[in-house]
Symmetry: C2
Subunit: 334 residues, 2 copies
């Protein structure tokens, strides 16, 4: 921080006025004479005076800023989420800052922003920030909205995507097309998303009285590479199903890649579907059938919740946003 920066004191001294008067002048308070106001402004300009936001925040006991915490800023589809948050925050005259929780110590960014009260509210979609930190940080004047997380606590509000229904619908889609031997490839074992999508899969399979193949327990960490090795493994083990439901798109793409490399045709030999509708899912060959999550809405709703809470409304019920099946070319009538 600039050590020799001119402060309001310097301006006061130069203008031979009291600090308080300068403050009023700078804030366009009608009490100061127009002439002095102009003089103050000029002097401030000359001294390159800039108000110190930190001091102001300390005094005001508010920051007019909310933050959004993401594990991996700039992941494939956070763009829309951030936009949703930012639009709502801006129209509420709040500022938005984003921070990634991935690099460095777990939770360091979260602790700095939340516990040390550098923001007035937070939206969190980062599995690596633990519940403890969130519950601790949340308070009447620092509401927190958690996305995609099962957490019920005071001043913590929850926005969820209907992963289970999404999993159900995409599985049903496959079943309707005639696929029966459908394998589910799960993500990291601690992923709630993966788990819920699996439940939807299970429900659909049961509904069609189809014996569900055991969930494929080699998990792909949700990465393309992970999916790639799973694909290889599946074919190497000679247990190729009719269709693969991957818990996310990135793995699905890896799986498709490995299949195509070996000469297994998608969808003729094996159908592959994913989840998330990441941008490239539309462009891979064949284009990927998947489930869209309403990312923008998620951000916008989360931000709405935040401001509702900041305005004293604590009666906010968890919201469950609908998903949307997007049928493309990686699945077809069998």
């Amino acid at each position: 921080m600039q050590k020799n920066m001119s402060t309001i004191k310097d301006v006061a001294k130069a203008a031979k006025l009291a600090v308080s008067t300068v403050s009023l002048a700078l804030n366009n308070d009608p009490r100061v004479k127009e002439s002095t106001r102009r003089r103050v402004l000029e002097i401030a300009q000359g001294l390159q005076y800039r108000p110190n936001g930190i001091a102001r925040d300390l005094k005001a006991r508010r920051t007019d800023t909310v933050c959004i915490l993401l594990h991996d800023l700039g992941g494939p589809f956070y763009s829309e989420l951030i936009r949703g948050v930012q639009d709502v925050a801006t129209s509420n005259k709040y500022n938005t800052i984003a921070s990634g929780t991935g690099g460095g110590h777990i939770g360091s960014a979260a602790v700095r922003l939340l516990s040390e009260r550098r923001v007035d509210g937070a939206i969190i979609l980062a599995p690596d920030v633990d519940d403890e930190t969130i519950i601790h940080a949340a308070g009447k004047d620092l509401p927190i909205v958690v996305l995609d997380r099962n957490l019920l606590a005071e001043n913590v509000y929850s926005v969820l995507v209907d992963n289970e229904r999404g999993g159900y619908e995409v599985t049903k889609h496959l079943l309707n097309l005639g696929y029966r031997n459908i394998v589910f490839v799960c993500g990291p074992s601690d992923s709630l998303d993966s788990e819920l999508r699996y439940r939807g899969y299970e429900t659909a399979m049961n509904e069609f009285h189809v014996q569900k193949s055991k969930r494929f327990d080699y998990c792909g960490h949700f990465t393309e590479e992970g999916g790639y090795s799973i694909g290889k493994l599946l074919s190497a083990m000679g247990i190729l199903p009719d269709a693969v439901f991957s818990a996310n798109d990135e793995m699905a793409i890896g799986i498709m890649k490995s299949f195509i490399e070996i000469g297994i045709r998608v969808p003729e030999d094996v159908a592959v579907v994913g989840f998330d509708n990441i941008p490239i899912s539309e462009y891979v060959q064949p284009s990927l059938t998947t489930v869209r999550q309403p990312m923008y809405d998620m951000g916008a709703v989360a931000a709405q919740f935040l401001f509702q809470a900041l305005n004293g409304n604590s009666e906010l019920q968890p919201v469950l946003l609908p998903t949307e099946l997007i049928v493309r070319n990686s699945s077809q009538v069998k």
Copy 2:
């Protein structure tokens, strides 16, 4: 901000100690007796005491935070850039916050963070933040690194990507393949990137003694839709070239889409090349020949500059990072 949050005063009162003693205890100063330190810690815990980061920053006159300002947080390839910054910042024990400059008033986020000194340094890749704001905000103790911007000022450091050379190389690539009638589709008229890429194009064309077709002045705003209409226009006007060099990938993809829709084959009838190597460029059909920008390096180098500057080294010459031609299927021997 939490109004009824317990402060260090409350802890002191509860512990029947002076505020200063509590402060020392909390900061593990060896001067306080072990027993009192433990007692203080317990009481602090009981009161749910959390230090107020804002007060601390004000006192310390530093925030240990740098920010990265992007026009559109979460654009297609900022991911790597942010990662580069964050890795370096973290290893320097600094925190990183990101902010989008797109929504709302131009520059409001920038002003808040920079001019109001809420950060100790900044990295800016946002054409909508004007030079004025940057020059004004920069200072010995608030160095700013600008990316992709022609700006020379005190305490402002510059990291550039060699757009001109990139444009030169991709054009030469087309020329080497045998293309001669190559049209350049530019981006927004105020885009320096577009301009530099054009210069590279020009140089290569001259080098091959090929009459360069006039730059296509309908600019695509760098969007896929823009490219799409340009493609339509080109064919409707009956002025189809051998090859199209689009100033960025998104437009290139739009152009390809429109061509393919009309039955123009890429690259057999017309080759298309782009710039940026956005993720989907690998997946579109045909895959797009393009120029990679070293986004991670850009972020990492920018952050390095920042910390060099924060450590008193102001002799940092602008850096020009090399680009890399990536040949894919949208161009082939003619």
